[in-house]
Symmetry: D2
Subunit: 498 residues, 4 copies
């Protein structure tokens, strides 16, 4: 089929899928007002496919020479990763800091299985590699959009999957094994973009022990598969197409859902892990490796807006020369650009596994970027709010600006620095408010792996032997251990005599 048109894409979403918003069934996801900002994100990609300026970045060629979506291309080296980053960044800049296009999580989960299926087959010879590659071809050929469903609902966080008390379905699991497939039950939560995708790719969210083995499952199904139910997450302050007051959040939304799997049948050729429990942890970790790159990159585009609106408000309020405002702006630049370059460094310094034919981002730098933006985001928002002023909380609605009766008051009294139209100051204020919502803050901490997950990742990844060897040398501790970095360093201080 090659690359789809916007119309083909939209039509494909009208497939009988079962979805609820506010407790009511949605007839057509492409026509429900609450889903419009998500559809905006999704359809954008298909418009850009038609644009010769963007097509070379977004479209790749299959081995057969057919055009196909770049997002599903297997990543083999730093160039591929840098192109992926360029892809994400370009679309995120167009979409005000959100990844444009229908899917990122699904492709990253597919990438994780690409790596781990090779490792698994090498040991257990199940034949997963072939299934994964067939599925990849199917996606490339039909230009499908693939959601990625990783996070389970989890229940009591102190208990493992099998230990949960009220029921055993807090993590998606295999409840039946048929001859030609498996039956799965459970629910995945925080699953972005599912309503604007064609397929769902499921993989485990955590390490499993043997007793949890029914929960070690990975598979893919179409969104409209019987038994699949989507329930939309709530949204903060949404008004359809109110781009004045909600310039970012009314434009785009990643449409998180709860996906319920009510005893869903999955045919064997779409099963990529089936109780091989030791591989669950590997898949979860490798998924993270790929998905950090997405997070680091779109967040950089997001932070450019955060820093930009702070700079605008400082100017519009006449505060540009105030020292503490300048200090806050300096901090925001540091924060934004450090996130940006860490994401790029994760590509530049990627890990290539030639025997697997795959490359993945350097986890140290990609996790460092993620940790930086998640751990310090509230501080950034504090600065934006400080610079914007109390108006960020109390601005009369923009309808007052559009009303003939109240507009003169708005024009006169909300003017800031001379020469700046009042409307510009109002718009910048509305942007500042829109980007500092609690939704964004909660997302920043938790999306693509929580803050704790980052710390755990950093601890797991770090080259502790390097650090310890360096410290032992400095402390003159000789414990017989050796490290390549310190082994051959010359003696210091050197021997010399005055």
């Amino acid at each position: 089929m090659a690359i789809r048109t916007p119309e083909q894409y939209l039509r494909s979403l009208r497939d009988g899928r079962v979805m609820y918003v506010d407790g009511k069934k949605v007839e057509d996801v492409t026509r429900h007002p609450a889903l419009k900002p998500a559809i905006n994100l999704g359809v954008l990609l298909y418009h850009l496919y038609q644009d010769p300026r963007f097509r070379p970045l977004l479209v790749t060629q299959t081995e057969e020479g057919e055009d196909a979506p770049f997002i599903f291309k297997r990543l083999r080296n730093a160039e591929d990763l840098l192109r992926r980053r360029e892809y994400i960044l370009t679309l995120a800049r167009i979409c005000y800091g959100a990844g444009g296009g229908p899917c990122y999580v699904g492709p990253d989960a597919l990438n994780a299985l690409t790596v781990i299926s090779r490792r698994l087959d090498r040991e257990l010879k199940v034949g997963y590699v072939e299934r994964v590659e067939n599925y990849r071809k199917y996606l490339l050929k039909n230009d499908l959009a693939l959601a990625g469903a990783i996070t389970d609902v989890k229940g009591d966080r102190s208990l493992r999957p099998i230990e949960q008390i009220p029921h055993k379905d807090f993590y998606v699991r295999v409840v039946d094994q048929k001859k030609d497939g498996i039956v799965v039950r459970g629910a995945k939560f925080h699953i972005s973009r599912t309503p604007i995708c064609n397929e769902i790719f499921v993989s485990p969210t955590r390490a499993m022990r043997e007793e949890d083995k029914d929960y070690a499952v990975s598979f893919a199904v179409p969104v409209n598969t019987p038994g699949v139910v989507l329930i939309a997450a709530g949204q903060e302050h949404f008004e359809e197409d109110n781009f004045d007051e909600y310039p970012v959040s009314a434009s785009r939304h990643t449409a998180e859902v709860l996906i319920v799997f009510n005893d869903v049948f999955v045919p064997m050729e779409r099963v990529f892990l089936n109780r091989e429990w030791p591989y669950a942890a590997q898949i979860a970790r490798m998924f993270g490796n790929f998905h950090r790159l997405y997070a680091d990159t779109y967040k950089y585009a997001d932070l450019e807006i955060v820093t930009g609106v702070a700079a605008l408000m400082a100017e519009y309020n006449g505060l540009e020369k105030v020292e503490h405002i300048r200090d806050e702006l300096a901090w925001l630049v540091w924060y934004t650009e450090t996130v940006g370059i860490l994401g790029k460094a994760a590509c530049d310094n990627c890990v290539v596994e030639p025997e697997l034919g795959i490359a993945y981002p350097n986890a140290l730098y990609s996790n460092s970027a993620k940790f930086l933006f998640a751990n310090y985001y509230h501080e950034a928002i504090k600065y934006v709010q400080d610079i914007t002023g109390g108006i960020v909380a109390d601005l009369p609605s923009f309808k007052n600006f559009l009303s003939a009766e109240t507009r003169p008051y708005m024009e006169k009294y909300f003017q800031g620095k001379a020469g700046i139209p009042t409307e510009h100051r109002l718009r910048a204020t509305m942007l500042a408010r829109d980007i500092s919502s609690s939704w964004v803050q909660g997302t920043t901490i938790h999306a693509e792996g929580s803050l704790s997950a980052q710390k755990i990742s950093l601890t797991a990844i770090a080259d502790w032997e390097k650090y310890k060897a360096i410290a032992r040398r400095a402390a003159r501790i000789s414990d017989g251990s050796e490290h390549p970095l310190t082994r051959d360093l010359p003696l210091f201080p050197p021997k010399w005599s005055p």
Copy 2:
């Protein structure tokens, strides 16, 4: 009239006042849905007046022995301040962290003028003391609700009032002097509770120089005075009486407005400052002294909720034993209770000026409380969001819980710790989301004086001579200066011989 009934109060707000919401004129402020949470706050006081458990706290007696609202009583000593604190705290706990009743700012501005009018009359003998006291009697006798209008719209923050460029009305000013009164023009912003008050008390927001003297003006007018126009501030996520999803913000709102003064005539007996520019700074500072107490106290009630919802979510998620969660809870307790005790310490250690017959809170502790809560609030919210989990951003709307079709999924999959009804976890999550809105964060930084204002206040208040004297003694610097604290301290180390 003594104390009014709820009905009398509500009726008094239907007085022809000119108010706009979303650019449209409001017919009756007591019947407009957007104002309902504010009316909730206001009318509460009049209900409590009827409740014998609360009446002794809320009602005082005039010299003539008539019942009158305690809020307008002149504060003479620590007991009065502690009762004021108890008043604020009691109503704030009832109202989920917002000061219940219609007014706090106005009484604090009246208190400030009570002090400064005495100082001014002592020097200039204008007769302001009598005017202020007559006005106080009028308020007490008629049980009126008084808004306080302090903050101007300010225009370019780097310019003084007289230097503003597009026009000269960015700060409220006297534009004409009539025989029997003055004419004022300008606008005040962020003025809480005006729609639920009967009168507006205006006083300066900053120090003025001689060239700014037309801006050194203080006065009071009824809200329905010709030329007074109110424009409502926007509100985050409001749905009328949706106490499920917005348990705090749908219940109460402080109804900030822009108040425009379109060449409003003020009779001389309601003018409390009229171009005596050196007193503008004193009034602004003294207002702050009184108003911090309000801020410190209601915020303590607010932080009890913040800490409480964090504790609930930790329990409901099964996270109570996780060390970093416990550390965050410990920090929240420290933060909450330190804010609380600092506010109390400001009363316990108040400044009494017997010759003026007035007491005001200790500015060092009241500003320290304000600085603590404003400077660290984003950190508190980060912890609440971390503990609550990603559900704080993505929870499906509560309508899904109320719908027969989706409720089973919600019940099953949003269960947390066994034994906790799912509904409780959902409600606690909605509370966590409601209190972490950007509106609250912006308000926390800016309301009752911005973060910078706190730092400036602390610098202005601090007993620098004490600190320097102590440091000079430690550094063995003898510069001839003396300080009571260090002057008579014995030599250290003492002379002794082994």
Copy 3:
């Protein structure tokens, strides 16, 4: 004996005690240069006893009407605690932020046993109350100085006392039970002021389980008891009586030691806990309650110097009007005075147990003070160093100022603001450097309970039921639980109809 003279005190320290500094035995602790700053601290108290301005604060009367050291008086109410605070603060201000006099820890341990022995005897009737009170009388009568030895050396922090691997003596324990006493072995570390005390009071540092019961031991012995060995902690940059360069650290030192108990015999009348393991935790916690007050108070005196030297350096460098310097100073004032008032609030709001005849500080406020100063101290030092400038690291030694050859260069080039003698700027710089040493920072985090201990204490103390009840009410969660604070709060919003 009543109150001792300085000479009597010094003589009492020459008692044959076994002490090592730098691996060498100390002949006479009152004549060893490394111990001079500690002796300075100790002997001060005896000088002040002779000073009629201080004697009323420092001296109390026994039931027999004899003068006796106030520090051992049983604390019965808020007045006693406030006097104790005044005692600590007065001596700490004299001694540049360290508690003057020989002892604080010992008396606090004695206080803890005073409370817990009553609880224990009520249940087990061992007769500890009488032993404790006899010992108190002995101390009062002979005006002895009492060290408190709480912290054990601990070995592997992840293991309990009985689980330790290389040997079992990482916590002090009973190794033999004789007819008339016990034999103890082990070592206590970080034990302040032991070299300047006459007696050592030992009590447990943590909760014990039944298997650890040999470690549940409390007792007192003279410092010169056979088998007791003291090894001095190192000191940062010490030069005897160099009050120019080390104005604080050369003046006073709290003389921490490792105390080794080499199978020391303790007679039964000095044993206050002997394997009653459930009481170990209670003693440790109650000791903390008393000892926080000491920490909060001397640290307040210490922070006055920190803030003072920052203010001096800002002035001397001509930086007083720079906004970020002013902000840092404002923060330091907030930090200092909040620590101060929290300590006072812990006394004002103390817990009185009339049936035990004892009062102890409010643990919520005393722990909040401790947490505040320990958690933010590095930030304070960062500000001091920022304000002082690079000179804090690079100042040529003061000997250059005292040398005729180099003084002219020092005078000319280290001048700051005109009118300030260069010497003053140098002295303030040396003070800034002296107070920001790593020793002070490490101590601030760890002394009187580590940072983690504070968080654990705050979590243990907090009134979680209050917070949860308040949050449940706000979230409209009805789970049948009741709390006095929320039970009778009226409905909000109230019922009213427009």
Copy 4:
């Protein structure tokens, strides 16, 4: 001469230079104990020159094909910068986090003049390019060590050079113009490594106005020039060759000095700026561009030790599995590696000015690295001290371990985790203490440009137009401005119809 031997280098420092330590003249800088750690740093380079493993990195070839020190090579592209980084990192790892070899600041100042002399000559044709290049050849040919003297003593920080009150010499200035040279007076402070260098390169520390033009001066002189006087900065806890207790600080020191210029004559061929005041700011900024790379790189080596000792102590104390310890370690890894990669990114993304034949580091990333390490260093130290435990403050001196009498106690009671020799735990503790000194902290904030300087640099460097354009687009503000990044971005949301 090509490359010198260690002996030649040491001999060259015995040149009659005038230097004072503690107010006393130093006869021979190579034989004074206080300078030994600095000589250690310096002489190392000459030892490594002889080592075939290091020589290729450290030695370059002149155009004439002679061996010469790489450090003076003109940097032309990213490869040169990366090699410079490798040079710094290699030596810093050998020298426990300090740049090994005698000089870095001087070469960076020379590099700055290399750029700015070209700009200046293009406009004013003074002939500075030739002088600079001749001097470079002289340094290369003779393998000299060059100190860089930038920071002036500054006096009152609120006054410009010409405004200073007690005298006019707070910034180095030209006091006389002779036919063949100039006479300079003043003092430079914090000048690293001067005692171990042969020559001093002076350049301005700040922007100058026309009235300050006498202060716009750059030149070079030998260290032993008449009128040049060096006064050594103090050192924290120094004991000669005590590598046990001061493993880092006794090994190496950068020997900061105050350099006094007592009316020193400088021949014209060594004058590189002579009152051309507009270029002072350019030189200061360009010097910063080069010198950040040095700071970012050696600090990375330093932070590897910081993180390493934290990891060791966690292990030795048995704390590796405690969550908050793991979180602190994760933070340290993030901090260390982000500093590291930012420095590398500054090279990878350097600015090349082909027409000037020179490349310099990307200031955005190099300043971001510097800001990161300086702004968060105190937090890092807090974590190290928390992990190390109170022992970091109270460890008995290592002499106790070396003494037969006390060693058994030390061995037994300072053991940590089983299997780790006590000596290792002691050594790691001593390292932790050594690296957390106030000297290091002060240096971290102030060296290579203060914290404020970083914020000002970041503000100056940032691409504000980019950020503002991005924010304007998001806020739908059309003010006619254009930016390449946003100009051609397609409309979002795209036009589509459901």
